[in-house]
């Protein structure tokens, strides 16, 4: 499983005030939660288009905070045109990576301070 770099969200910390940084991380966290849930629902329904749309959103949200692992699996799900690919398996993989990202975000938010850029 890919992992996020140690300077996760560091670029945001450079460019935003601490308050704005927290606000954006909170929004990204919410977006990721919502999009993964949408992805799982779409996969359960066999709706490949809805899966791709949710994956697209996840890739964007991951990109905001530099969550490279989540962005990578999301993009793969966006572009995968293999009809044999299992939507539910893809959704499960993304859920797993997204959970890791959400934990990272929660850790940063709990710390009360942005990470120090490496």
């Amino acid at each position: 499983m890919p992992s996020d770099p140690p300077d996760f969200a560091a670029h945001l910390a450079e460019e935003l005030s601490p308050e704005d940084f927290i606000q954006v991380l909170t929004l990204v966290s919410g977006d990721v939660e919502q999009l993964v849930a949408s992805l799982e629902t779409a996969a359960g329904a066999g709706d490949a288009d809805a899966c791709r749309a949710a994956a697209h959103g996840l890739a964007g949200a991951a990109g905001v905070v530099g969550a490279e692992a989540l962005e990578k699996v999301s993009r793969r799900a966006m572009t995968n045109r293999d009809p044999a690919a299992s939507l539910t398996a893809t959704a499960a993989e993304i859920r797993s990576v997204a959970n890791a990202t959400l934990r990272q975000i929660a850790a940063v938010l709990a710390g009360g301070a942005p990470p120090v850029p490496s």
């Binding site: 670029h11 929004l27 919410g30 977006d31 697209h56 959103g57 949200a61 966006m78 572009t79």
Partner: protein, 522 residues
């Protein structure tokens, strides 16, 4: 705050079109930090509404939107004439879409994830290009307006001609303005003016300036056609309609379909024909002679006469109902004597034209010759001036036209008398010198002298040559007079009739009779 916003004292407006809250908020925070005024739309529909209401300077546009594609939104904005710059936000995987967006009118794109500096540079460049474009458009608009004003001023101050007319006098500029104003309309136009003032030229100018310019222009001289043939000339006839009608023949009305029908000398139209013309003018329909089939055409009517049409109505020679149908927009062509220096403009034009045709050296008129031309009242108007200049060019060759080359009666001192009392209008007896410069038979001068001498010459009229009067039978005198008038007008019966102040049909009748009696070649 961005530089432009600082300079302008107000923030530029950026609409962020993004459906994901985190990305929208990040963009808002970046842009607000850069000094922009920001609004967010989560769907393409909401973005379109905000763009209409808020009139942003730029859009930060995500392509993947919940309702419809960002490219479609871009198309709608361009269709509505929005000049907001559009910067497309795209994931690296959708670069092809970003290129499509650029082709569709987006100014630039940024790739997610982007940082504040990248967004700042991209957006600032795009807005600066927009500002430059706007400045150029403003300058171009100002330049175009200035050029238009300059052209208008040149047209008003220096226009020396229009659609074949030559003349810069106030009177002619007013005529040009009327022609241009009414050209686009379908309203009937009634042109009045003395013989030789350019009535047919005015009719053609109307046609050429109108939306019918691509259609036919058909001119019919009502005074030059025997009255029993006039209906056939206007409406056409079918085979067998009358003796000699060996085939169907379209008339002027059919030929002018989609264009302009110019009825010259309409005052000469017989009353019974006026009734048929009225029906045609009212309904646009007619039946060819000998046919009951009704034909409908789309024709604009332009009429002309050298008489006062209202006086003709009062005299019972012209139907009042037809008058009101045709006399919608009057165009009165001024006589040449009222056109000031137009005389010289026209004379120089003809001099250049005829000198080229006749291979002469003439470059202009001497001041003395010009003084003669401007002092003469030109009762035959432009046509007479044209003949005089051709006379000069044919008989002489020099660099300048001198006063010694000006033919009578233009060169006579009496012609230089004040113009306070202008020559009589066409309905009055025409001066004998009307067509000076042409080979007028001496008999005309003799008759004019016979009439003018005992009674004195009316003020303003050129004094004729006094010569011995040949006494002869009155009928012979009449024949000679008519033939002289025909010779002077190159056989133009309506013009000859106008000179003689009789109806053209009278001339036709007399000519036919003289031919029948062998008094005139067939």
């Amino acid at each position: 705050m961005n530089d432009q916003a600082l300079a302008a004292g107000s923030a530029e407006r950026i609409l962020v079109v993004e459906d994901l809250p985190a990305q929208a908020e990040l963009a808002r925070l970046f842009l607000a930090g850069l000094g922009y005024d920001v609004q967010i739309a989560g769907t393409a529909g909401a973005a379109l509404k905000t763009a209409r209401d808020w009139q942003p300077d730029g859009l930060l546009l995500d392509i993947e939107l919940p309702d419809y594609n960002g490219l479609e939104l871009l198309g709608h904005l361009k269709e509505e004439g929005s000049d907001a710059v559009v910067v497309v936000v795209t994931a690296s995987a959708s670069m092809e879409l970003a290129k499509q967006a650029i082709r569709a009118g987006a100014e630039d794109f940024v790739v997610k994830p982007y940082n504040k500096d990248r967004l700042s540079v991209t957006l600032r460049n795009a807005l600066q290009r927009r500002a430059l474009t706007r400045s150029r458009e403003v300058l171009e608009t100002r330049l175009n307006r200035a050029e238009t004003r300059l052209q208008d001023a040149e047209a008003k101050l220096g226009r020396k001609g229009f659609a074949g007319f030559i003349g810069a006098s106030d009177q002619m500029r007013a005529v040009y303005d009327i022609i241009q104003s009414v050209a686009r309309s379908k309203a009937s136009v009634f042109i009045t003016g003395e013989s030789g003032t350019g009535k047919e030229l005015a009719a053609e100018a109307l046609h050429k300036s109108s939306q019918r310019a691509g259609g036919p222009f058909v001119a019919l001289n009502c005074g030059a056609i025997p009255r029993d043939l006039l209906e056939s000339e206007v409406f056409g006839h079918v085979k067998g309609a009358f003796t000699g009608a060996t085939a169907d023949r379209p008339g002027a009305a059919s030929l002018a379909d989609g264009g302009t029908l110019f009825l010259d000398e309409i005052g000469e139209m017989p009353l019974e024909m006026q009734v048929k013309l009225l029906r045609f003018v009212q309904t646009g329909t007619f039946s060819p002679v000998g046919s009951s089939k009704v034909t409908k055409v789309d024709v604009r009517f332009v009429c002309a006469t050298n008489r006062d049409p209202m006086l003709e109505v009062q005299a019972g020679r012209f139907r009042e109902d037809l008058y009101y149908r045709l006399y919608v927009v009057p165009v009165e062509l001024p006589p040449l004597r009222d056109r000031g220096d137009d005389v010289l403009l026209i004379a120089r034009h003809f001099l250049t034209q005829f000198a080229r045709e006749e291979h002469r050296r003439f470059r202009g008129f001497s001041p003395a010759a010009e003084a003669m031309l401007t002092a003469y009242p030109w009762p035959g108007n432009v046509r007479q001036l044209q003949n005089v200049v051709r006379n000069i060019v044919v008989l002489h060759d020099a660099d300048l036209v001198g006063p010694e080359m000006i033919p009578p009666p233009v060169n006579r001192p009496y012609a230089h008398e004040p113009r306070a009392a202008p020559p009589a209008p066409a309905s009055e007896p025409a001066p004998a010198e009307t067509a000076a410069g042409e080979a007028a038979p001496e008999v005309v001068v003799q008759v004019a002298a016979a009439v003018a001498e005992p009674m004195g010459v009316p003020a303003g009229l050129p004094r004729p040559i006094v010569s011995e009067i040949e006494i002869m039978p009155l009928a012979e005198m009449e024949r000679r007079l008519v033939l002289a008038a025909l010779a002077r007008t190159d056989g133009d019966i309506p013009r000859a009739a106008a000179l003689l102040e009789i109806n053209p049909s009278t001339v036709y009748r007399k000519v036919s009779a003289w031919r029948k009696d062998g008094l005139m070649p067939a």
